[in-house]
Amino acid sequence: MNQALMQMTVSGALMGLVYALVAYGFQLTYATSKSINFGQGELVMVSAFFSLTLTDLGLPYYLMIPGGLLFGVVAGLFVERAGVRLALEQKSEGWILMTIILGLFGFSAAENIWGRDDRPFPTPISSDPIQLFGISITPLEISVAVGVFMIMAVIELFKRKTLLGKAFEAVSADRDAAELMGISATRTIMLSYGLSGLVAALAGILISPITTVGPTMASALVLKAFSVAVVAGLESGFGVVIVGLFLGSLESLTSYYVGSGWREAPGLVLLILALAVRPTGIFGKGVIRKV
């Protein structure tokens, strides 16, 4: 097989895992509240900038991570409180517009606080390539994959094994029934937004050493994460990983063979195609309308 093709596929797929992680964050909030944060890309970007500032302040890498994650959680909770809760109470789709607004504010704030330029993100993990089956891959790229799978495994275990996690699952399955059992849906939705913020912050910390940090990373990431979430369906955690890997490699091949300006295109086309062919997503469930 063509060496360049293989190389492109693999490094693209690793990037795709980060899209999958952001998409997984959408799934967490969609499960409990049928809403997602349209400003998630900005959340990733602002968290990454915040983590960079922690590093600049002299915090060692492994202490910076919890700090960045904590920031993500707080930001996620803020989005829920300021942008989502009111709309959900009114049973409207107003959260779409509200989260867009919060994202825009975050974007503008980041532009002015941290500047418009891309900045390198230091990491102790080596980026000297090692050869694996003829493909060069860096420990940094491997750390991305490890980080993504680890956080998803931890959250899935949390949902299945802890009482709080079971409450989460209960609200996802049937909000009204869960409330009748004494589970507060509002708190569970808060929890899901907190987790979603955590996942987003981690995505930012993982990807920034490779791509650098800048305000534009927000829209670049979020559009692809949207594609992954819609193509895979908003329910399946396994699905986003598969679709993320696929989209990541497709995108890297497109930018190699067609031109880097077109790298966004496959994800966007896939999203619209998926809606045409299978609107609930490849791994999504059908909906039963009740009257």
């Binding site: 969609y30 349209f38 517009l97 504010f105 559009l223 609107p279």
Partner: protein
Amino acid sequence: MLKRFILIRGIEGLMVLLLAAIPLMINNGFMLGLLTLLAIYGILLIGLDITVGYLGLINLAQAAFLGLGAYAAGLTVTHFGFGMLSALAVSALLGLVMGGLLAFPSLRLEGPQFALATLSFSALSATILNEWESLTQGAQGLQLVRPPLFGLVLDAKGFYWLCLCMLGLVWISMKNLLFSQWGRAFEALRDSPIATDAMGIGTYRHKVTAFALGSGLGGLAGGLYAFNFEYLQPSVFVYELMVILLLGVVMGGRKSLWGAFVGAILIVLLPNLLSNRLLFQIFSAIGFLSALGAGGLALYQKRTKPFQGVAPMIAMGLLVVGSLTVQNTEDWRKAIFALMLFSVVVGLPEGLMGFAATFLSKIFKIEPLPLATPSDLEQVLVKRDVDGGPLLQLQDLKCYFGGIKAVDGVSLTISSGTIHGLIGPNGSGKSTLVNVVSGLYSPTGGSILFQGKPLVRGSLFDVARQGISRTFQNLQLFSELSALDNVMVAMKGWYRSSLPLVLMGLAKKDEKRAEADALALLEMVGLADQARIPAKDLPYGAQRFLEIARAVARRPTFLILDEPAAGLAHPDVMALLGIIRRIHGRGITIILIEHHMDVVAGLCDMVTVLDGGKVIAEGLPDVIKRNPLVIEAYLGKGSGTASPEAVSLATPSPVPA
């Protein structure tokens, strides 16, 4: 009547005259530029308001349609030498077609998918405009010269008047559309998509049409935009512009032409506002004080949630702090838009015009137009001949949900001209059965024959078109619409006028006739004097009756009444009996799902009893009441009592959700 005409038409006319006259009075190029932009953005926002206001969907593609329309006009003029009007027609058509193509896949689901698809579409079109350099010249920009209009070379003033004329045309035709059966359908499908489908109004195709129309207006505005600036760059038509457009629509006021116009004024003035520091400080101070005043008052009177009162104050407070401390407001442009939009969405969701409309209608007390005289019910519901033959035949019908066999092999024949009762304990499959027949669910197996022919499956809309109409156990009214409009929505299939006639305002006769017919139906259910009241404000019993009137307005052959008496008080039940008899008297065959034994016994010619998804008995009501299997299904084994009273007592109507 006269006052209404003067106030509404007069203000519109005055505004047009004023706008047209300004360039004659003031000779100022900058001013003229702003006015031209105002007319263009007016068209753009009216288009956006169709989706954001009337359909209630977040549309993030309008900036992209503006861009596509602009490039379409620019390229047809530079490459093919098109004239002004033909280039504009291409722009509008491109918007219409692309809008249709985008809406087609993305409007199939409710939820965030639509907004995501429009977002992707915007990003994709930006990529194409940027990267397809051989056609669009990419980031370098496209230079063009404004083509002549019928050989006439327009100067800036002339072009402004053209834009104003376009805005006027769009305004009039949209007004005609939105106050017609189409506009009513657009509003209805936002309230209850299921009910619009069941009324034979394709929810999906109406949404697609509406979105395509709005996109077409976006394209038209794009064409004008291109001829105004005579230079295009892809970087203009991006996400930020989209947010500004949303700000315009939301702040101006949704679901309102005037709202779109006010929004356009705001958008045009916004850049100038931001470039002048003092002006911006004054503006944000006014914003803060009004948030403080309005929010404080609402909180004091406990009219609003704390969040709705306080959040705009905080946002506006931040704006004031920013206006005083930030050196370069241009840099913070996006954050300023965000704060303004946030405050409006939370604190003034109906927008400036929505607020002004309630205020003005209080001052001027504009009376609504008088209602038409109700038609004769005999003519609205022409009596159908019934032959007593089989109308609906179910053969071994099954509907499974996973392992649950909700309907498990039901065979049933309903003769035309009868009232057929369908009873059974809770969970026996009655509602699922009628949901399958009416097309809400697809059957797992079995056949349905209607008038001897196989009935379409799994589509409420197609089934409704076959002459089957239904009510819902849990009410599915168009809650924001008046009682009259609820019924008129269902009459849409009976309108004769085509869309172009409606747009030109030549369909008023149709409208009057539908109103008279609808009033006759409201009279039939005893709601004629409540015609103007929004459905959500009607008492519960009246809502049930309204749903029946709406279902009958389809003039069906076959009517499904799903627990019409659920939750009704005794006098209302009596009224219901009368209504059902009158409908039946017009030759409409009815299937009645009911828990009240006395309703069933008093009305039905034939009763079928379901239990566990199967038919356990069928026969005349009196016989059914004494059937031991039926009594057992309702009361369990060995209960000893066998009186019909016991049956009806044991199954009280469920409390409405």
